[in-house]
Symmetry: C2
Subunit: 436 residues, 2 copies
């Protein structure tokens, strides 16, 4: 059986190391086309890792077409004619001051299609690429985004409401510029630390609003002075909570009571609804022009593609133009035109479907795998119908740190839920975040 030396000091998890070894061997012909791979259980025992670790490695190889699975027979190496994901061999050690971040998920990105579209743009559309676009972004891209939102989120948006920017952090800065400094922002607790950090970095007062099991705590919200509420109703990070439709209406009602109130709907992973009935976006049920919709392609395509966008309600457009007319669009025209075609020609939809299938498999695999370990007995899974992670709450007396350590030993990639709390970071929640 193949024997690989796994290195626990590396930043890459074991499953990536195994994946890399197997990929290399298939590419180099050490594992021949049609050759049967060891069973997951056999390889995991052989290498001293959990079955799920091997399963993750095989899942990645499957999705990239390096191996195929034949029911009841096992996994077999595929013929690899082209090196899909060329690694540069033995790079000379760089004299770098800070190591760059590896993003294994980016390997699902259909780079060759993207490169083809970009090459075509470079060859045929020079004038267009050198024409400075509107601050809000290239018109063609804004049209493509509107069509996408109509089709996938049933949202009726005009291109003049769409603002394209280099990443959501930049859009948060624009929102601050739009509203100025006299508004109080509300953020979810627990939640993405980044959001409150960025607002507070602009001297915005940020109130942490606790989460309940169907969205943020609206009674708590009503007792605060919050004007602008920043939430992710489709799939809250990290709890995985989906804001109920009743709560959505209640939040819109809350917003209707003051002209200074707005809701930022951060729809960052709504594309990855893995099962269950889709829930309409807050933007699509907003009849009073109170919702700013926000989404990003950095999560759904690749983290190095820094393109995000927001949709402003019509009522805010004039104010926005007055506050930002001296800004230029931060995204290169080359990438904007490439992305416009990527969406318009159906590649984005295909990619999303492929990603969903991949994450669904990983999720199903995870939910199956946890049945093998006693510690998951009486545990409760939630937030598993959407997005790229779920949370599991344990019936345990272990501290959260010990719990994490135990579960990691079985090969799972987990984070501590409690670290995402703003107010009560020290209190054990017995809950871990599982990344697919």
């Amino acid at each position: 059986m193949v024997t690989y030396i796994l290195d626990s000091t590396k930043s890459e998890p074991y499953y990536i190391q195994i994946y890399n070894y197997l990929k290399r061997d298939i590419e180099q012909g050490t594992i021949k086309t049609g050759e049967k791979l060891p069973s997951k259980r056999a390889l995991s025992a052989h290498l001293g890792v959990s079955v799920i670790t091997v399963e993750n490695a095989y899942g990645q190889l499957l999705s990239e077409g390096y191996i195929k699975s034949i029911a009841k027979k096992g996994y077999f190496a595929e013929e690899v004619t082209v090196t899909h994901y060329k690694k540069s061999e033995n790079k000379p050690s760089r004299n770098d001051d800070e190591p760059e971040e590896k993003e294994p998920e980016n390997q699902l990105f259909p780079f060759s299609i993207w490169a083809k579209l970009m090459r075509e743009e470079l060859s045929y559309h020079q004038e267009k690429l050198l024409t400075k676009p509107s601050f809000q972004g290239v018109y063609e891209l804004r049209v493509a985004i509107c069509e996408h939102l109509k089709k996938f989120r049933n949202m009726n948006v005009s291109p003049n409401q769409v603002v394209v920017g280099a990443g959501t952090e930049y859009l948060y800065l624009l929102i601050h510029t739009l509203f100025g400094g006299n508004y109080t922002f509300g953020v979810e607790d627990p939640g993405y630390e980044k959001i409150s950090h960025i607002y507070e970095g602009q001297n915005i007062t940020c109130k942490a609003i606790p989460m309940t099991d169907d969205g943020i705590d609206i009674d708590y919200l009503k007792q605060t002075q919050v004007d602008i509420l920043h939430i992710s109703p489709s799939h809250h990070f990290p709890t995985g909570v989906v804001t109920s439709i009743g709560k959505r209406y209640a939040l819109l009602e809350w917003a209707s009571h003051s002209p200074s109130r707005y809701i930022i709907e951060d729809d960052y992973d709504s594309e990855f609804r893995l099962s269950g009935k889709p829930i309409p976006s807050m933007y699509s049920i907003d009849a009073i022009d109170k919702v700013i919709y926000m989404n990003t392609f950095s999560k759904s395509l690749a983290s190095t593609i820094r393109i995000s966008y927001m949709v402003l309600p019509n009522a805010l457009l004039d104010k926005f133009h007055q506050a930002t007319w001296y800004y230029s669009c931060t995204v290169s025209t080359f990438e904007q035109y490439t992305l416009a075609r990527f969406i318009k020609e159906g590649y984005f939809e295909k990619h999303i479907n492929r990603m969903k299938k991949y994450y669904k498999e990983r999720r199903d695999c995870l939910l199956k795998e946890i049945k093998n370990y006693d510690i998951f007995k009486h545990s409760v899974v939630s937030g598993e119908n959407s997005g790229l992670h779920c949370v599991i709450t344990f019936d345990t007396l272990l501290s959260d740190e010990d719990l994490k350590h135990t579960v990691e030993q079985y090969g799972f990639r987990v984070g501590l839920l409690k670290e995402y709390y703003k107010e009560k970071k020290q209190i054990d929640t017995h809950t871990l975040i599982f990344y697919y």
Copy 2:
């Protein structure tokens, strides 16, 4: 002689219209290779425009290789084998809500080289392009910027001091994030409106500091509570003033008197020093870590390439990391790697030299042309040794608006100096800005 219909309702100036007509005719063979073009004076009389208008059109064609100039003989059409600057013919009218901005200067940008480098990156460096870079930008690009700064500005900078961002506006926002809200900023008056607008949009108190003929008024500065001074000592916009070396030292001395004081050196067009002795950057003479250096490739390459950078003094690095660790780099890796090679392989230097030659010719042509008109008698030119514009002060009783109107009738592209004042926009300065 060629007869072209010039359209005064178009946003394009006449010289661009003439340039476009001639280019089309040379490309299509209506004007044959080797054919002599009409003299500037003859064509200007024929079309009813000023000689400088025709000179500008010829200058553009010369610099792009469409025509050549033979001393004492005139201008002749060159053989055009490749369509260097392909225009898309008769675009169907777009259903756009806002017209996009035309940037004639972008036509000097060596698009084919840029496209070649980008195609190579797309073909050979997939893994690199999908690896998320440091927030400060791709390491290779930061190294290339350091080498460029060493060579052209005699600045000793380490890559870990360089921060790459999508445009200077974005860097201004990061500077606000770095310092927080309790600092008072000083900006030049007159100056780029954009700068104070962006700071004030972040609720920063901005003081306008008057300009003298060797830089900002330091006595005035000392009477204010300014902490962070944002200036462009290499070539002030719009006056064209170059801050004297004595004033540079005086400003550093000012900064040394308080730990909260810093100077932002906005070096936006230092590449375009057209004549005279170069003056060292403030960063290069700063021994007390008080200067933040800032520059952009959007001005020197093409406005659609949104890549700017700043160099932080070592003393600010920790504070900067604490304030911004949750941000991601806003520039796409595709463009960062392309630019790194563009600089490293000498294309940037070549491009700058070509641009300098082009603007020098345009400037010389302007300074020659103004001798033909009475209104320029007793006028004083300044700021003509650097950058892409100069200013001319007139001995006249005309209002600034009438002066502008008169001068525009001779075919010059001008702006009103007084519009760039923060405090005294209404007062006539009898001074116009001339763009090359």
